[in-house]
């Protein structure tokens, strides 16, 4: 079972307490009515689907209930980092260096 660190509880806990919530850092357009159909489609449906480190959202559903962000390698399932939703997006190169 995966062990996931919740940045709000500051504990590393079993995967069963968490739910996956899609790709992270997808900002809703500030003025939806002014964007084109293509842009709106991209916002709603188009995701990067990366093979490797993926910025994604998780929710500590059976715990503090908070959403947070994580960088997980989609190949190895290894979590490089988890961080609070309002924290800046961590640079991938630094994370990869740290994980070596």
């Amino acid at each position: 079972m995966l062990l996931i660190h919740c940045p709000y509880c500051n504990q590393t806990l079993p995967e069963l307490e968490f739910t996956y919530a899609g790709e992270a850092h997808i900002a809703r357009p500030a003025d939806p009515s002014s964007v084109s159909d293509e842009e709106w489609r991209d916002f709603l449906f188009i995701r990067t689907n990366v093979k490797g480190p993926h910025y994604e959202r998780w929710r500590h559903f059976h715990g503090c209930g908070r959403y947070f962000n994580a960088v997980r390698d989609t190949v190895s399932d290894r979590f490089l980092i988890t961080y609070k939703t309002d924290d800046p997006r961590p640079e991938l190169s630094k994370l990869l260096e740290k994980s070596k």
Partner: protein, 183 residues
């Protein structure tokens, strides 16, 4: 239409063996949400110093609190104190905005105690029970159901279970007790 009701009469569920299960008497329960800046004012109103670490508890007499999330607390009190807590919070609402919701009927509480109580919980709880300190607690999951677990002593726990899931979880715990007895 068949309507299934359950009275949830407080009393022993499993009375002997290595783990005892008891359905506890009803208490007043409140869900409290507020921002960090308002913690001191609301703490003063309730009379309990709200802890700010997730999983930490604080108590004053029969009124208890547990921090469930960065901005969320569960407050437990005697049923007679329901109005006291509600009014105390209403009095400070203007200066310390918060959300206090009475959820007394939402859950029932089962006491789990005995020499193998922490082992029994592993029947459905993936969290490392040993990581919960005595006098602490957490909201976690047991067999797919969200519960609040309070650790009162090394081998004494309280589990708050939503009523509609309670029969299932109690059944599961009883099964565990039978397995211990059959060993």
């Amino acid at each position: 239409m068949t309507v299934l009701t359950h009275a949830f009469t407080p009393g022993p569920i499993v009375a002997s063996g290595q783990v005892k299960l008891t359905l506890m008497a009803p208490v007043a329960r409140f869900s409290l949400r507020l921002r960090a800046a308002n913690i001191p004012a609301v703490s003063k109103a309730i009379g309990v110093d709200l802890a700010t670490t997730v999983g930490a508890r604080a108590a004053n007499g029969t009124t208890e609190s547990i921090c469930l999330g960065p901005d969320e607390w569960l407050i437990i009190a005697k049923p007679d104190d329901t109005e006291t807590v509600t009014n105390a919070c209403a009095d400070v609402y203007a200066s310390a905005t918060h959300s206090l919701t009475e959820v007394s009927a939402r859950e029932v509480t089962v006491r789990i105690e005995g020499e193998r109580a922490s082992e029994l919980l592993t029947i459905g709880c993936p969290r490392d029970i040993d990581s919960i300190p005595v006098g602490g607690g957490c909201r976690t999951v047991i067999d797919g159901v969200t519960v609040v677990l309070w650790r009162d002593a090394e081998q004494s726990f309280r589990m708050d279970i939503w009523r509609s899931f309670a029969l299932h979880i109690i059944d599961l715990l009883c099964t565990g007790c039978k397995e211990f007895a059959a060993e």
